[in-house]
Symmetry: C2
Subunit: 190 residues, 2 copies
């Protein structure tokens, strides 16, 4: 998606450790109009496929997943990272290592809101090693629901998470795959 | 908002400790079409007021805040609860006690994305004691931006958070104020 790549070049920054910072429009201060255009690309990619639910992981993927759910006209279910009073009993869990927070995190979904009949599209703003998305896909598999595909706005191609999903035959729609991220230099996969 | 009150009666549940569980349509599995109708009520309440930014706190308020930002045509800025690689330098912070997680939490916003010129509407799915919202209002005040008002889908009136904001002269738009929450019995403020 040319607009997204141009925006990453214009407003993104590379921090030490190949961290690509896009918090001015993607995952802290969120340009909602851009999220809508990204969601329309996801819709076009999965045109004609039956989707009953959008899933993501809290917290930064929620704005894009919300707009995508709005675009598809289906509910959004987001996996939680900590047990709260608002979630109880019948949990489906998957343990992951969070690249962002540098620690083990348990993703949790209440079994009540995901059924074997669901046809799920997983959405996230960012994918690096793909740990969080693997956790969500694992939860979908545990329940016996169908994983229709994975939608990513920005994929760090050089960290391999997306390609591992593709090797498993999963339909991954990534709109900007970054192959190189160094201060002052961001390059995308053709 | 009659539709929201009816939905709370129909699908909400009261757990021990006056916890009102609405995770089937508000803050885990999210009915996006309902969030849109809630956002339209917020829009009607603040009609004619200049709004430049919607703010909320991660994570459960993000879907409603996203749809509200979409409805107002402005960006969304969400306060983070933990330091991540994606947020650095120039932070504005406020320490709160989270009723949901039963612990102290520091809310953080990158100063870069909030300016004294901003006219901010704060949105959340739920308000009990109002700690999280007070933290966001505190951050807005620290930056010198204008707090236009506070939009809440479900307020637990008996926990006093909303009334404290009203006493300060803040325009609080709550669509369902629960005055009594006991198993099998939920009552709303007239």
């Amino acid at each position: 998606m040319k607009e997204l790549q141009d925006r990453i070049i214009k407003d993104g920054r590379v921090l030490p450790g190949n961290i690509v910072k896009v918090d001015g429009f993607m995952n802290h201060n969120v340009d909602i109009a851009l999220q809508r255009r990204i969601a329309k690309e996801f819709k076009a990619h999965f045109e004609g496929r039956e989707i009953t639910k959008i899933m993501t992981v809290e917290a930064s993927g929620i704005p894009l997943a919300t707009i995508t759910a709005d675009e598809f006209g289906v509910p959004l279910l987001f996996a939680k990272k900590a047990k709260s009073d608002n979630i109880e009993g019948g949990l489906v869990k998957s343990e992951i290592f969070s690249y962002t927070y540098k620690k083990k995190v348990t993703l949790m979904v209440s079994a009540e809101w995901l059924s074997p009949d669901d046809k799920v599209l997983v959405v996230d703003d960012f994918m690096a090693t793909g740990q969080a998305l693997n956790g969500v896909c694992d939860i979908i598999g545990q329940v016996g629901a169908e994983l229709v595909g994975v939608c990513i706005a920005i994929e760090k191609g050089f960290q391999g998470g997306g390609d591992k999903l593709r090797e498993k035959g999963i339909d991954v729609c990534s709109l900007a795959i970054i192959e190189k991220a160094e201060p002052g230099c961001i390059e995308f996969r053709e």
